[in-house]
Amino acid sequence: MLEILGTVASDLFTWQNILFMNLGLFAGIIIGALPGLTATLGVALLMPMTFGMKMVPGIVLLLGVYCGGIYGGSITAILIKTPGTPASAATALDGYPLAQEGRAGYALDAALKASTFGGIFSAFVLIFVAPQVARFALTFSAVEYFALSLFGLTIISSISGKNQVKGLISGMLGLLVSCIGIDPINGTSRFVFRTDLLAGIDVIPAMIGLFAITEIINKSRSVFKEAGIMQKFSSKGIPAGEFWSKIGNLLRSSFIGTFIGAVPGTGATTASFLAYNEAKRVSKSKETFGTGNIDGLMASEAANNGVTGATLIPLLTLGIPGDTVTAILLGAFMMQGVTPGPLLIKNNPETIYTIMCSLLVVNIFMLLQGKFFVRIFANVTRIPVALLIPLLVNLCMLGSYAGNNSVFDVKLSIIFGIIGYILILLDVPLTPMVIAMVLGDICENNLRRGVAMASGSYMIFFKRPISLVLIIISAISLLYPMVRTLIDDARAKKNRNGEKSE
């Protein structure tokens, strides 16, 4: 192993590889930061460039775009509550309040370091235990996928705070939105009011609408109040001591990201919400989540970047692409004459370990480049609201369009923006709707597949151990915040009555 790593190091540390890695990271961070453009699009856009390149520079370029793209989404999520990618939606929950407090530098720095930590963690898992993890992940069937997505959906309960009923309403609306389009099991249409809806509702315009347009409209209320007033601003990052005091949260979130990433077909968005939920669940200050708790932000970022290395596990060890990005990467590998799979590890370990180790190096360079970006981007919070709004309207409209080159997506984002604004006025939280839209699809499809596998019996979900454990945790996770709220209310009532009688 050490001999192979020596060869890999000499292959990897050439000036061309370092250059292309950094170019990829730069492009990835910019693409990820632009609303509507995802890491997948970045990898697809830059893939043709690698055809004329040698294998290692080509692959490190694409890995740079991939990691940079996932991290880049957090920048706009924190600064303007517009997640650059769906995977950063959970980051906006606590990142944006921190930026509003004038601590944009702190939030961006924490997101960068957490992303790097998650990325390096998953790269180590990829290097040392990839085959074992891949074998375990492949034991997942529709039953386990359903249980996993159900567990993800229980986040709705914990992030709704005291607004449990309204949070559930928002979640149910999200589930209904996820049903729009062609039914994947029977192939019939559902709620297809016009042909543009045949493929369903894309999460990106919906998210731009719910998070960004809603926030733009909401923010416009402060135009005259804030005119000419410079917002509080600090570019100071997170102190090293504070960062390392969060090691438990980072390790847990990176583990969640790595595990979710290794399971084909789940993805960074699911991982970030699950990690956010877990961070909140174990936190002593649960009530501060959603108002600028750094643990929530770091959990989300460590998890979504933890996915980057893990998605390569089934790809490199078994030749199975787990999501769209890895499917594109598989194409790029094959164009370079590399066919991922068990035979590659056996016959050509240097190649596979070069790819694995390059991911580690990419994450280290991401930290260095990110430091540079943080200083520049943190200044966005100093822009006066009157100027910021026209810039954001422009960016969001174009971002909604660019994902699928569709004018209909622009309309969709506006509709979701208006719905979001009305819901905010009625104190209905929006995040449960986004979570349900992302997970609803996975949940429904796998529920129906599982039931079909068991010839109509729902008991199959309780007969398989992983599924059973996940369902039990889901039930606890769903009911605990509700019971807790009831207990707190009862205690408060008792105290009030006690004070009155005194």
Binding site: M172, T188, A386, L387, V393
Partner: protein
């Protein structure tokens, strides 16, 4: 709008939406297959979500009425504050309106809708410039460089998306 009014509107809206889904939208807009071999049908999940919406809506509505009643009881029969008659002239009212939050919200929402309307008709660059400048005018921005920045930003985005990211622009 107080908390109870918000809860009542949300509850009633959810209840009506859930019922509309169950009785009108799902039967008309979910295409079913006659022979279903999958044990679950395309309307299983939407029906489940709609029923939950109906229940949650009814619960929220009932809870809002109950809590409001309790509150009124506690506050001594809920005395209502007398509403003051607005005696300002139309000009004063208009001036107050164009400096209000509502005006900014309406202008922003209008510009977003205008963006969508113009995008396919006159293309991105013109739409971006018109809408950005319109917003700055509406917000009464007096700094000339704000106008330069928004127009330059529109051109920068156009170049970035169309030339670098190869997005086919409208």
């Amino acid at each position: 709008m107080n908390k109870y009014t918000k809860d009542k509107i949300t509850g009633l809206g959810t209840l009506l939406f859930g019922l509309a889904m169950l009785w009108y939208i799902i039967p008309n807009w979910v295409v079913m297959k006659t022979a279903n071999l999958n044990h679950t049908s395309p309307d299983t999940f939407p029906r489940f979500a709609s029923w939950v919406l109906v229940l949650l809506g009814a619960f929220l509505l009932g809870q809002a009425f109950y809590n409001e009643r309790l509150q009124k009881h506690g506050d001594g029969n809920g005395q209502e504050a007398a509403t003051k008659k607005d005696e300002r002239s139309f000009g004063d009212k208009f001036k107050a309106f164009i400096s209000s939050d509502t005006y900014c919200v309406l202008m922003t929402a209008f510009t977003i809708l205008l963006f969508d309307f113009l995008l396919t008709r006159i293309g991105y660059i013109k739409t971006g410039c018109i809408c950005s400048v319109l917003l700055l005018v509406a917000f009464r921005s007096k700094k000339w460089y704000h106008y330069v920045i928004v127009i330059a930003f529109t051109f920068f985005l156009y170049y970035l998306f169309s030339k670098v990211l190869l997005v086919k622009m409208p």
